[in-house]
Symmetry: C2
Subunit: 240 residues, 2 copies
């Protein structure tokens, strides 16, 4: 039975981290909300007053009867099945720790455009968003990207991968956040390649993998847009 991925239609968002893993592995999956009535089916499940262990929010993955929620949890679950996790058991907890740092970074990216409330429009919190974005560009991008660059540099198996000596879902997720940063903050990331050479090499290597390349060129890969996590609002971007 194919995996069923439940996530909002019309944007990459957090679901994209799961899609990249499924696509790299060539796994069979159904992107439920992109089927007709798919979003209704998703909402029905989320609002169920009787189903056990309902998720809090998308994305979640259905594998038979089991529903796994949260990106890092889905990838922890799928990683070994898709051959995208370290074989070594302890290293799987290292991979999960890195993925959770990516999760935190993604939440901070979201908060650059929604610092006060997800219930207010961007226009209604623009001043706070400018302040938060300036701080994000000055402090948080260097802190997180400097950290991931060190992780690559200090990987005992070489700096081509985040964990161990082969591709894992963490590498795919790093590709995605670098891609997103360039979309959302083109000015702030102008010197990204020179500042973070190992991350840039990883990004380029992932982009050129056969299955990823095919996926990125397909219509299953939506463009970044202003409904997703990474949004390009020129007034929030600045040189760095």
């Amino acid at each position: 039975m194919p995996y069923e991925l439940y996530y909002w239609d019309g944007l990459q968002g957090r679901g994209e981290f799961v899609r990249l893993a499924l696509e790299e592995a060539g796994a069979e999956y159904m992107d439920v909300a992109r089927q007709s009535d798919g979003t209704a089916a998703m909402m029905k499940l989320l609002k169920s007053k009787s189903a056990p262990y309902i998720p809090f929010a998308p994305p979640f993955l259905k594998d038979g009867d089991l529903i796994v929620s949260h990106v890092a949890n889905i990838l922890f679950y799928l990683g070994p099945k898709l051959d995208l996790a370290p074989e070594d058991e302890p290293l799987r907890f290292i991979a999960n720790g890195l993925q959770l740092t990516i999760t935190d970074f993604v939440a901070e990216v979201h908060d650059t455009h929604h610092p006060l409330s997800t219930n207010l429009y961007f226009e209604d919190q623009k001043e706070a968003a400018k302040q938060r974005s300036a701080d994000f560009i000055e402090h948080r991008i260097p802190k997180f990207m400097g950290y991931f660059e060190r992780v690559l540099e200090q990987n005992p198996d070489g700096k081509k991968h985040a964990v161990g000596n082969r591709l894992s879902y963490v590498d795919l997720s790093l590709f995605q956040i670098i891609e997103g940063l360039h979309y959302a903050f083109p000015r702030a990331t102008k010197r990204f390649g020179e500042r973070y050479p190992a991350l840039t090499a990883l990004h380029d290597a992932v982009e050129n993998r056969a299955n990823i390349k095919k996926y990125l060129a397909s219509d299953r890969r939506l463009d970044f847009n202003e409904s997703g996590v990474f949004r390009h609002y020129p007034e929030l971007d600045q040189d760095a």
Copy 2:
């Protein structure tokens, strides 16, 4: 060899979710930063330019050579060892999903007092903090707590526990966020017991477990304070 927990001294913070599990299980552990030179040892590790797989931030747990970072990851790792995880393998991913929803909630609690930047003092973002807190009280507390109440109500093994039919680390973490909410927002949580009866019963049951009771009365349990995640700033609280 005892587990080594690395976390800031002087506050409960995110480390407290791990402490509660270790204490409930009666596990041997060392709270490293509370030893002399402990914080220096922690910083040395975080700043290492050569160690493999360094964590991004505390808390992290050292078990022999392995360093596990992020609360949910630490608990996923420790759960089975401390007999605080479901025995059923698929249910462990359910527990992890719930714990990650708790993680998201804790990040939102933090952002009530620091909506613009962790690098600015509370005083310098108080107006934004008031807006974010009002939204948090009106929308986010009911959304998250309503969700967890449903999880208990819809647990096929009964509403005493979040997952399965026995205590897990998720129950302990739910206790901690309820405790923290009451500390930070006494006005907003005045009717908590009536609105969320199953959660309140769970909180009280955890509080009365022998090991937890002993721990809460010990000097290892620090009081909530305004350095932690849950902070009581009266100007951010309001009736709900």
